[in-house]
């Protein structure tokens, strides 16, 4: 079992890559155990904001012992992080959550679907799928949904296959959301990995069920402990959960990634 811990990492670099979207590399030994789809809890220094902020791991560089996070300024915590400079200490808890099941992609046509600030964790998936799957490989296509022309991470995904873009305001790519892009481009798939806002995930769940596609979706919920102790972050499940003995699973530990058909969203 990985060694979950709270430690001080160090900011290696930070830059604003789109309006209010920040890209930070953190030097930390946690990089060695990070898996695509896992997240970390980032603690603000301001003692009036106590709880760790869950942020997905966008990339892990084992050699440099560094984790990359890409986040939107949403409130007090992320606002504070956005001012951190190279060399600053940053308190993190990790690595948290289960991650995406990559085996499910072997020899398959894979669709990565990311909406807004749900895009970052999929980059780790793209990277891992292109690097680790053997001869069979995986055919990776990515659909990214944005609000407007403030694109981010698109070029990073390009290295791993075709990238399709949708923007709600129609300023770039296909007008609409990721589902609109899938329809417009006729993108067939055997496996979907997705992360994004709840309406998008609901639409993907419905689409996958209808098309008989395996879909793995990464969910968000307000969290307190991040380690499975407080039961703050649950999602309703189709079956009775083994741990809780009710129809609830903890997103922080049994998730954040669930098979779409297992959860009631």
């Amino acid at each position: 079992m990985e060694k979950r811990r709270k430690e001080n990492g160090r900011v290696l670099s930070q830059k604003e890559i789109a309006p209010q979207i920040f890209d930070m590399w953190i030097g930390t030994g946690l990089a060695a155990q990070a898996r695509p789809g896992q997240f970390i809890g980032v603690y603000p220094r301001d003692k009036s904001t106590l709880l760790p902020r869950p942020i997905s791991i966008c990339q892990a560089d084992r050699e440099r012992q560094a984790l990359r996070i890409v986040y939107r300024v949403a409130g007090r915590g992320t606002e504070e992080f956005s001012h951190y400079k190279e060399g600053d200490e940053i308190a993190i808890l990790g690595t948290l959550g289960n991650g995406f099941p990559l085996e499910a992609a072997e020899g398959k046509r894979v669709l990565l679907m990311g909406g807004g600030i749900g895009i970052p964790p999929l980059l780790a998936v793209a990277e891992a799928l292109s690097g680790t799957l053997g001869e069979a490989g995986a055919d990776i296509r990515t659909v990214l949904g944005y609000r407007d022309s403030g694109l981010f991470l698109k070029e990073d995904f390009r290295r791993y296959g075709a990238v399709y873009v949708a923007a709600e305001d129609g300023s770039v790519g296909i007008r609409g959301n990721v589902m609109d892009a899938v329809a417009a481009e006729n993108l067939a798939a055997d496996v979907i990995y997705a992360c994004g806002p709840m309406p998008m995930l609901r639409a993907i769940k419905g689409y996958a069920a209808q098309q008989g596609i395996d879909a793995y979706i990464s969910l968000e919920e307000h969290m307190a402990c991040g380690v499975g102790a407080c039961l703050g972050c649950v999602v309703k499940t189709k079956e009775i959960n083994r741990h809780s003995h009710v129809n609830n699973a903890r997103i922080c530990t049994e998730g954040p990634v669930f098979e779409a058909k297992e959860v009631e969203i």
Binding site: M1, K47, T49, H222, A224, C225, V227, A229, C230, G232
Partner: protein
């Protein structure tokens, strides 16, 4: 140096315990701290059958603390006995099981089932649950209802009973005296203070349940005052909690009259906090020349 304290005949190697609902059944935080170092582990509240709890969002951050409306999700007492108690038994610490229910009969059922498990050292009764037969007013918000449930559980309990008081009352001392008069072996306080948070842009409550229990450092002064008032008013031991996050906080509660302390929300901020508080109390004792921790209990002047 002696750090041992005794509550209702149960000896704790030190006065540091976990607060119910913040530490699961110890499994999750055993990856961060050595449970053998703790005076006791207090489990998440357990009912006679599994409870699904409330819709999400269940937690929200507030200035210096948090709100929770978990709704007492729990797997039921049978799972507790089959899975959680055997896990906790591996450690050299006291097991205290927190009990919840919607009727007195439900509490009795849980208390009776736990009575057969000798590894359970003590029962902590959460009386902040809504009493469905009394218009959903919590058992712990009316002195006569608190007296009644305490007396009734006392008839069935095989382990010492620690009644966990709600701070959402006009007079905490009246409640403490009612529980004592009904035969409670110990008291613990405070449970969370009922609070609220509103998202002004969405014009919506942040918690699906609208209200939630507040905990964390921001409630510590209120908790300390209530522990002080209670400890002076009753003869049974009092366990203090509410915002404790350091050894200094814990010692404050001891000085106010608590025999032991529980640490809750601060586990989320610092997963190592319980063990650090144990160590910190020892350091404080060494530094201040305190030979026996019992000297500190209620020693505020």
């Amino acid at each position: 140096m002696n750090t041992q304290v005794t509550i209702a005949g149960v000896t704790l190697k030190n006065p540091v315990m976990t607060a119910s609902g913040t530490f699961g059944s110890g499994m999750e935080y055993s990856r961060f701290v050595d449970l053998n170092r703790l005076g006791a582990v207090v489990t998440k509240g357990v009912a006679n059958v599994p409870w699904p709890g409330n819709p999400t969002p269940r937690v929200a951050e507030v200035y210096g603390g948090m709100l929770n409306a978990i709704g007492l999700q729990n797997p039921g007492v049978d799972v507790m006995l089959e899975r959680d108690i055997p896990f906790l038994k591996q450690f050299d610490t006291n097991i205290i099981v927190n009990v919840c229910g919607k009727t007195v009969e439900e509490y009795v059922e849980v208390v009776e089932k736990l009575g057969d498990e000798s590894a359970v050292a003590m029962l902590e009764i959460n009386v902040s649950c809504p009493n469905v037969k009394e218009g959903a007013i919590a058992f712990g918000q009316k002195a006569d209802a608190l007296y009644h449930i305490t007396a009734e559980l006392k008839k069935h309990a095989r382990q010492p009973l620690m009644m966990k008081l709600s701070p959402n009352v006009t007079d905490i001392v009246e409640m403490a005296k009612a529980a004592e008069a009904a035969g409670a072996d110990a008291l613990s306080l405070i449970n969370t203070l009922t609070g609220m948070k509103i998202d002004i842009y969405k014009r919506k409550f942040v918690l699906a349940n609208k209200t939630g229990g507040m905990s964390g450092p921001a409630i510590k002064p209120v908790a300390l005052r209530m522990v002080y008032q209670t400890a002076r008013a009753v003869k049974i031991p009092v366990v203090g909690m509410g915002g404790i996050g350091s050894a200094e906080d814990a010692v404050e509660f001891l000085l106010a009259g608590a025999t032991a302390v529980s640490i809750g929300a601060m586990n989320f901020v610092n997963p190592y906090v319980t063990e650090e508080v144990v160590k910190g109390i020892e350091d404080y004792m060494a530094q201040c020349g305190v030979e026996d921790i019992n000297e500190l209990i209620g020693a505020v002047e």
